[in-house]
């Protein structure tokens, strides 16, 4: 059944009413299980609260931290807090939530995009030219294992406060590992593909543009997806350590004001955002890489 689904996901295939129904049912079933899973987790938490094991002041259960959303939203006004002389005329609490989410998301997205583009460029360059390999690869390999947290001071030295340091942190966290996996992907390209192109008279440049790059794209998108969660982690750390405003800043504020409800509320937001992002990338994968069966896309192969 999932094979049939995969086929009907492909853009050119027109959906018959019956198949559309089956597709919707598939979605419904998956959504149902997801809700059940989250629901059971919440229920367990509520139960622990009920029997007094979960201290309401430290681990407020979902009905408390989700119970007063309007109150929570007011704390998101940190979006304006750092702008001096703009007091009173800031955004409404709801606008503040929106701004905070958008700015964190935009940083993740910008960092991901920059790191993805740069690592494809550098990775392909390293395999394309022996000189590039000799000059660049050792440095990349040396810097790859360094934790991105170590770059945090550098980010602040270079970019001060605002979007710059957060984007830089995401970029640094992803660039080196993604460059190395680009190289690994290139090395794993089927030799037959390259030999076919060679027997047909392809130049080295054509082998790269017409064979190697399309062949490594699926693997690269998977790498991008896997690094998405890393990007979120780094962006929160960058924001929390005073790099600017954003979801990380809200969590820091919650810590400083001892507000566990706000922490869990923000965690719930971040979880939903990460899930949504992953879903979007999966859609992108299915559209862009129509030649990979969807089952493989989901399994991350």
């Amino acid at each position: 059944m999932s094979g049939g689904l995969a086929r009907s996901m492909a853009p050119p295939a027109p959906l018959l009413p019956g198949r559309r129904l089956a597709l919707l049912r598939g979605w419904g079933v998956r959504l149902g299980w997801s809700l059940l899973s989250v629901g059971l987790f919440a229920l367990l938490w509520e139960f622990l609260w009920l029997i007094g094991w979960a201290d309401q002041k430290l681990l407020p259960p979902p009905h408390i931290f989700l119970g007063n959303v309007a109150e929570q939203a007011r704390n998101f006004n940190t979006a304006q807090r750092w702008q001096i002389g703009n007091g009173g005329s800031g955004p409404t609490p709801w606008e503040a939530v929106g701004i905070t989410i958008l700015s964190s998301t935009a940083r993740v997205f910008a960092g991901l995009l920059l790191a993805g583009a740069a690592s494809i460029l550098v990775g392909v360059g390293i395999r394309y030219s022996r000189w590039a390999e000799r000059l660049v690869l050792p440095t990349v390999t040396l810097l790859a294992p360094v934790s991105p947290i170590a770059w945090l001071p550098v980010a602040i030295f270079l970019f001060g406060i605002g979007n710059g340091p957060a984007v830089f942190m995401v970029f640094i966290a992803l660039f080196f590992t993604m460059t190395i996996s680009t190289i690994a992907q290139i090395d794993a390209v089927d030799r037959n593909f390259i030999n076919v192109a060679r027997t047909m008279g392809a130049t080295k440049r054509q082998i790269y543009t017409r064979v190697v790059i399309p062949a490594i794209l699926p693997g690269l998108l998977v790498v991008l997806r896997l690094n998405l969660f890393g990007a979120w982690m780094v962006v929160l750390v960058a924001e929390a350590t005073g790099v600017g405003y954003g979801l990380g800043q809200v969590i820091m504020l919650a810590r400083n004001t001892f507000n566990p409800s706000l922490v869990f509320f923000t965690i719930a937001l971040i979880g939903l955002l990460g899930f949504g992002f992953d879903w979007l990338l999966r859609q992108l994968q299915a559209r862009l890489l129509y030649w990979i069966p969807e089952t493989k896309v989901i399994a991350g192969v």
């Binding site: 030999n195 076919v196 060679r198 027997t199 047909m200 008279g201 130049t203 017409r210 062949a215 030649w291």
Partner: protein, 265 residues
């Protein structure tokens, strides 16, 4: 008189030559393939017959002897010599017709012209309807036919085939052999076909080149003068099969003995 399509004289190939992992794959190969001739290279696994094909394709460099195609030294790959691989190597991100004309697109030919070439090449392999399909929508046999069409689209004078039907089931393989003979007749190209199947060699070849175990040398060249279409159950075909299996058995025994000696050393 015209030059042979392929001429090997004292041809040799050693992998990783000059290192500790040096491994002699081919030694002293003398072989001339006439234009339009169907030659089958037959031998046990690992005897270097595929290596010979890669040398002729120009994908690898030989390190002894000379190698000429239509009188010219082989220094690299050429669209004149198309190689068809054991695994289908169609690009999954291209449609069937784009795969077939990949080589033409490298030269910068326009899409309309390429579609026309693709239609013609695909109709020669009986797949004109599959133009706009994607490779993953085709069966294994159909994909191998597309690979043949892709080779034909370059109008090669030599078709090099590396166990192209090995991954197919027996019935499909028999059909593909008939189909290949038709294509060969109509294209006029020489074919060098690598296999380890005696039946396949008897069904296809004008001449069968039997290889020794490593290093690969030519043990015997057996002409096949059975009339086409061939009756694989005729007395002559049976005799030929027995002759070939006798030639091969020695080599397989020798390869086994060698491996055992290596294992016990």
């Amino acid at each position: 008189m015209s030059d042979p399509a392929i001429l090997c004289q004292g041809l040799g190939k050693t992998w990783n030559a000059g290192t500790a992992r040096a491994h002699e794959a081919l030694r002293n190969i003398d072989l001339a393939v006439r234009p339009g001739e169907f030659v089958v290279l037959l031998g046990p696994s690992g005897c270097g017959k595929s290596s010979l094909l890669y040398l002729i394709a120009g994908l690898e460099q030989h390190n002894a002897g000379t190698l000429r195609a239509f009188g010219e030294a082989v220094t690299g790959p050429s669209p004149d010599r198309s190689l068809i691989f054991q695994q289908t190597s169609l690009f999954p991100w291209l449609t069937v017709w784009q795969n077939v004309t990949f080589g033409l697109s490298l030269r910068g030919d326009g899409a309309a012209q390429r579609r026309a070439v693709a239609r013609e090449a695909l109709s020669r392999v009986g797949l004109a309807d599959a133009m706009d399909k994607r490779p993953d929508e085709l069966s294994g046999g159909m994909r191998q036919r597309v690979a043949v069409a892709r080779a034909l689209a370059m109008r090669p004078r030599v078709l090099l085939m590396d166990e192209p039907f090995a991954a197919l089931d027996v019935q499909t393989r028999a059909k593909m052999q008939d189909f290949l003979l038709d294509v060969w007749h109509s294209s006029g190209a020489s074919v060098l076909f690598v296999t380890h199947g005696i039946d396949e060699a008897v069904a296809l070849a004008d001449r069968i080149v039997v290889f020794t175990a490593r290093p690969g040398r030519i043990k015997a060249i057996v002409p096949v003068d059975l009339p086409r279409p061939r009756d694989m159950f005729s007395r002559a075909a049976e005799a030929l099969r027995q002759q070939l299996s006798g030639l091969l058995r020695d080599e397989v025994d020798r390869a086994f003995a060698e491996q055992e000696a290596l294992a016990s050393a």
